[in-house]
């Protein structure tokens, strides 16, 4: 997908601050707000915010493909779901340990990503999108029908592990520490991904997006880069799955279903692809609208109809998403 690079400096030269300084100040302010939020917000909204961060991480992982490499993945539910089930497996089979759950979740998602990447990167554009969708459906069918291992329709239920650091620290999660833990992981992932996308590796991915044939002609092994991009994306999606499983204490086949992948794409488009932050904003925007609509019109309201309309209008008139629009507005 062609986009103009969004890493343009926010035009704040007038203020006499460098772009980097403004970026880090902004980052610290947002972080401070997010750290304080669970202490101030009512219980419902605090949990809501934690979930937005998790969905945001999932959407951000998908942005590596949609925004940076130009490949739309409709199969991120597979990685998210495998992360969930990996964590559930680790917590049910062994003495519950948070880090083991994360390790297992990442291993599950990584294995799924390797499988999907190996086949789907042979194809481009629309074909890639379709094959990722079909592959995620394979995982869904397996998880849904293999009742002995995965619990089938009912999924798996487990108790939340304690927050531990080696032998130094062992504490039960409460609502606030859970939020902080999620926030730390999401922020860490964001910084890692930002670093990776600004590294030579990330530049090659962006050059694949801009002109794949030319990138190949220069001598980069395009398919290998794509496989690594899909795996990277899958690992972070799996991490989001682990967080979601730990927060909600279950793993369910619904989350491996296509709807999760679809939501991921919507978050990306609404928030702004190729920005990493945008997908988190998009996830927040989507969930907030959805919550508001169900509060105003009742639970039975088909909120996806107006959201679908907004989604299409944004594709046509606001292809850069909310973040792109905000940047352009700030640059005025």
């Amino acid at each position: 997908m062609t986009t103009t690079p969004l890493d343009n400096p926010l035009s704040v030269k007038k203020a006499g601050l460098s772009h980097t300084a403004v970026y880090w100040i902004g980052f610290c302010v947002v972080m401070a707000v997010l750290i304080v939020a669970p202490l101030v917000l009512p219980v419902f909204w605090a949990k809501f915010l934690t979930e937005i961060l998790i969905w945001g991480l999932l959407a951000m992982s998908s942005d590596i493909l949609i925004g940076y490499t130009g490949m739309v993945s409709f199969g991120h539910s597979a990685f998210f779901g495998l992360g969930m089930y990996g964590a559930a497996g680790a917590l049910l089979l062994f003495p519950p340990n948070l880090w083991l759950a994360i390790l297992f979740g990442l291993a599950g998602a990584g294995a799924a990503a390797l499988f999907v990447a190996y086949f789907s990167t042979r194809l481009r554009d629309i074909y890639f999108a379709i094959t990722t969708l079909i592959f995620s459906q394979i995982f869904y069918v397996i998880i849904f029908t293999w009742t002995k291992v995965t619990g089938g329709e009912n999924g798996l239920i487990f108790t939340r592990p304690h927050l531990t650091f080696a032998w130094l620290f062992d504490q039960r999660f409460d609502r606030v520490t859970m939020h902080w833990f999620v926030l730390a992981i999401v922020a860490g992932s964001y910084l890692t991904l930002r670093r990776i996308m600004h590294s030579p590796f990330g530049m090659v991915l962006q050059s694949i997006r801009e002109n794949e044939a030319r990138t190949r002609a220069i001598g980069y092994p395009v398919q290998r880069y794509k496989i690594i991009a899909v795996m990277l994306s899958g690992l972070f999606a799996g991490l989001a799955g682990v967080l979601y499983a730990v927060q909600n204490e279950f793993a369910a086949p619904d989350f491996v279903y296509f709807i999760t992948s679809g939501d991921t794409v919507i978050f990306n488009v609404m928030g702004g692809i190729g920005t990493l932050v945008g997908p988190i904003v998009g996830a927040g925007f989507f969930q907030l609208l959805r919550e508001l609509m169900s509060r105003i019109f009742g639970d039975q309201f088909p909120y996806l109809i107006p959201l679908g309309v907004i989604f299409i209008v944004m594709i046509i008139f606001l292809p850069q998403g909310l973040m792109g629009w905000a940047r352009r507005w700030l640059n005025k």
């Binding site: 997908m1 629309i126 379709i130 039975q300 046509i316």
Partner: protein, 297 residues
């Protein structure tokens, strides 16, 4: 030797016969869905994610008209026309503004449309599945096999629609317009062909075909709001295996995959039999990523 004959005796011959016929019948409906999809892709470079929802809405309209009038053929025609109009409106509203942009935008836009249509169906028709009475109830016997006529009619109708469509593309004036637009949009425009309207017409045609297959299929299983995704997935697999944009490839791949699934469901549950078609897809991607019958473009 004895072991071998035992294996052959274990194969249920009558079941295989039934499943062969079933596979071909499902394959023909699938071919009808997939040919609409591949037509829209081949001519417009648009992957219509909402194709399954058009199929589903077509089936709903079929059920409504059928219960109101009792005439199945009227239901088929009305559903085809209404959904064709809906498809035209959808193309004008969402896809026409995206002409000239990256084709990936179109998959996103049609995905948005599918979201809207599916949730509309859920909200308007409710979550319970609707039944549609079978229009032709007779059975016939073939060797010792008892088989409903209606399934035969489905296969024949699908074949007739696909065949008629092929002749339309090949010989009629508008078919020639469509093929000209596929080959060279700019040149076609220069020759006085109204290209934007040809694109709208093609989309409407594909939508109408999806609706017709929905109506034909409805009496077999009933209609609910979530049936679209299953069908669009299967149609995607067929189109990738058969080669995007190849009409003949879609038909062959549809029948091939449906047959395999029908045989597989002798031994495993139908929801697991789907995996067979996934395996076919993976093998195709491994050995012929452009599809088995892709036409060089």
């Amino acid at each position: 030797m004895h072991a071998l004959t035992a294996v052959f005796q274990d194969i249920p011959v009558d079941l295989i016969l039934i499943q062969t016929v079933n596979g071909i019948v499902t394959g023909m409906i699938l071919a009808l869905v997939a040919s609409g999809l591949t037509l829209i892709f081949g001519i417009m470079d648009v992957v219509n994610f909402a194709h399954g929802e058009l199929f589903m809405l077509g089936a709903y309209i079929g059920v409504i008209v059928m219960t109101a009038t009792g005439n199945f053929w009227l239901a088929l025609i009305v559903a085809g026309l209404v959904i064709a109009l809906l498809g035209a409106a959808m193309q004008i509203a969402t896809l026409r503004p995206l002409i000239g942009r990256d084709p990936l935008n179109t998959i996103l836009a049609t995905f948005g449309v599918s979201l809207i249509l599916q949730n509309f169906a859920l909200w308007y028709f409710g979550p319970t599945a609707r039944r549609m009475p079978t229009p032709i109830t007779g059975h016939f016997t073939f060797f010792y096999l008892d088989y409903p006529w209606y399934r035969m009619v489905i296969a024949l109708m699908s074949a007739a629609i696909i065949g008629g469509f092929y002749l339309f593309l090949k010989y009629s004036k508008y078919g020639i317009w469509i093929r000209a637009t596929t080959q060279d949009r700019v040149m076609a425009q220069a020759m006085g062909i109204p290209v934007p309207w040809v694109l709208t017409g093609v989309f409407a045609l594909g939508a109408g075909m999806a609706a017709a297959s929905g109506v034909l299929f409805a009496p077999l299983v009933g209609v609910d709001h979530s049936m679209g995704l299953d069908w669009v997935l299967k149609a995607f697999i067929v189109v990738v295996v058969g080669g995007m944009g190849s009409l003949g490839g879609s038909v062959v791949a549809a029948i091939f995959i449906s047959l395999l699934e029908a045989y597989a469901s002798i031994w495993v549950s139908p929801s697991q039999a789907v995996i067979v078609s996934f395996v076919v897809l993976i093998l195709t991607l491994l050995f012929r990523p452009t599809g088995l019958f892709a036409t060089p473009k």
